[in-house]
């Protein structure tokens, strides 16, 4: 019988990353289609909480306590501890997050297995059939593994997380038999004031560009994001100007996002930005220039000054909720 393994990702506070609940839901669905076994693995300093959460989505989860004592377990140690479970499974699914990509690359080298990256959809036909978005969303390709095994990295917001009808079983494993990868020490974990949920996972993003004009101008972007229950994003121009940290940058050399709503303020929509956000379900833009490229692919464009339209939207939202 085929088998699928989900490598869970743990957040800074020891909980399960949201991406892992989505990946687990996807893996369970695929296992149902394939008549395959499915399980998960969590490696952390104290894996119990995250493993229990993951077992809400999967029938069996192995929890491995990392003995290094670090509160953030480096992807090398996660991949190493998960190696034997991954070898025993035909297919491994991980989130296409920074840690997930690292785990996928390391397992690929250790197992000699292929990787299909950034899945935006996965079906089963005698193995996973993986949809990927190419060239910034201009093309969707479907790929599969040539052998009987492989590793898939899955983008956030591809499926909605749905818990299993009954929680699964957590068993505690050990790191014995893992790969001996060279050490990387985590000296410090620094939280920055602007820290928020990973922008790739946000369902609503309000993003500002050159038109926002200043760091102060981003107050309006933040207020709108707050009113909509979303995250703050930015174009490269805004990041390069130092108005907002690089972690919020969307586009070619930043993050690729697929929220339900993308509200773009003062963003022209040049190709470098477009490739990061054009698969958003709904795109609304506010821009003074009716000929800005974003007007060609947004669902709704307001031609106007973001500093008058933005506060008016805020007021309208507040009057609805109030």
């Amino acid at each position: 019988m085929a088998s699928i393994l989900v490598v869970g990702e743990v957040t800074a506070d020891g909980g399960l990353a949201r991406i892992s609940t989505e990946v687990a839901t996807l893996a369970r669905t695929l296992a149902g289609q394939a008549g395959a076994d499915v399980g998960g693995i969590v490696v952390a300093a104290d894996p119990t909480a995250a493993a229990t959460e993951l077992a809400g989505f999967l029938p069996a989860v192995t929890a491995i306590a990392d003995p290094s004592g670090a509160d953030h377990v480096a992807p090398q140690r996660v991949a190493s501890a998960a190696l034997e479970s991954a070898r025993a499974a035909d297919h491994v699914l991980v989130g296409a997050s920074p840690d997930g990509r690292d785990v996928a690359g390391i397992l690929s080298a250790l197992l000699g297995r292929g990787v299909l990256v950034n899945a935006v959809g996965v079906d089963w036909d005698d193995g996973p059939v993986v949809e990927m978005s190419a060239f910034g969303g201009k093309l969707i390709t479907r790929s599969r593994f040539t052998g009987g095994s492989g590793i898939v990295t899955v983008r956030p917001n591809v499926v909605s997380a749905e818990p299993a009808s009954a929680p699964g079983i957590v068993t505690h494993g050990s790191t014995n038999g893992g790969a001996n990868l060279p050490p990387v020490t985590v000296l410090d974990r620094v939280a920055e004031a602007s820290a928020a949920a990973p922008i790739e996972e946000a369902r609503i993003i309000v993003a500002g560009g050159r038109g926002v004009g200043s760091a102060d101008g981003f107050r309006l972007v933040e207020e709108l994001a707050e009113a909509l229950g979303g995250a703050v994003g930015a174009s490269r121009a805004a990041v390069d100007s130092g108005w907002i940290p690089y972690s919020q940058q969307i586009g070619q050399t930043g993050k690729i996002v697929k929220p339900r709503l993308y509200l773009a303020l003062g963003i022209s929509g040049a190709i470098q930005h477009k490739v990061g956000m054009q698969t958003a379900e709904t795109i609304v833009a506010v821009n003074r220039d009716p000929d800005a490229p974003i007007a060609e692919f947004a669902d709704l464009v307001v031609v106007g000054d973001l500093f008058t339209v933005g506060p008016a939207i805020l007021a309208e939202l507040r009057s609805r909720s109030g």
């Binding site: 990256v117 050399t253 309208e316 609805r320």
Partner: protein, 263 residues
Amino acid sequence: MLRIVVLIKPVPDPASAAERLTPDWRLDRTAAPPVINGNDEYVLEAALKLIEAHGGEITTLTMAGHGATDVTRKALAMGATRGVIVTDDALPGSDAVSTARVLAAALRELDYDLVFAGIDTSDGLGGVVHAAIATVLGLPYCSYAARIEPNLEARTVRVRRISPVGYDVLEAPMPALIAGTQALGEPRYPSLKGIMAARSKEVVTRSLADLGLADGSVGGGVSTTQVIDSRQPPARAATRVVRGAPDEAAREVVAFLAERRLI
């Protein structure tokens, strides 16, 4: 004295919007002009700054057919010391496993303290090959670097790795492989002097036979993945354009969001 190898990939210029696949589902390298992958330019710039501060040399390493010479020349014009190009008729269509093995074999022939790679590429976007290379070579590996600080006496390197909540400070012994991001800083433009100097810099070309990998174990022929088909994404509906007074426009926006159940 610091020896850095920078991995550089030629990609179809994303700004051209002319990227396409060939009929056998490979990236059509001739469809758009090749440029240095954006994230590779950031790590090259970081390497150049480190060499300026500590002394040393930079070797670029590129595995590609089309475009390899163009991007190597540009990197040399920006200030890299020499270039190595791995090219072979068996390589097109290589998957992540093969690519990592070939680049690892090429790195085994070089002396280095640090290997830099861009965090991902604008054509493949996978971001998994550098972790695989480090694993094949048994190198310590740090990704998502926003700052890279080697300590030559202690033979260690400190890296700020961007995390979901801020950043982690990592430390690894050298040699190490580091995958970096745009947060490392804006790349320089080649100067006229740099462009002239690049013409006389050494560029070495290696084949799979040179690397001892001509046994059919790597390349497009043994890919672990294959494309089945492709399609255009569904076209977006026509754009609705709203003009008028801010209050009216705002009401229309909010009604639109409510209609789509976004609020």
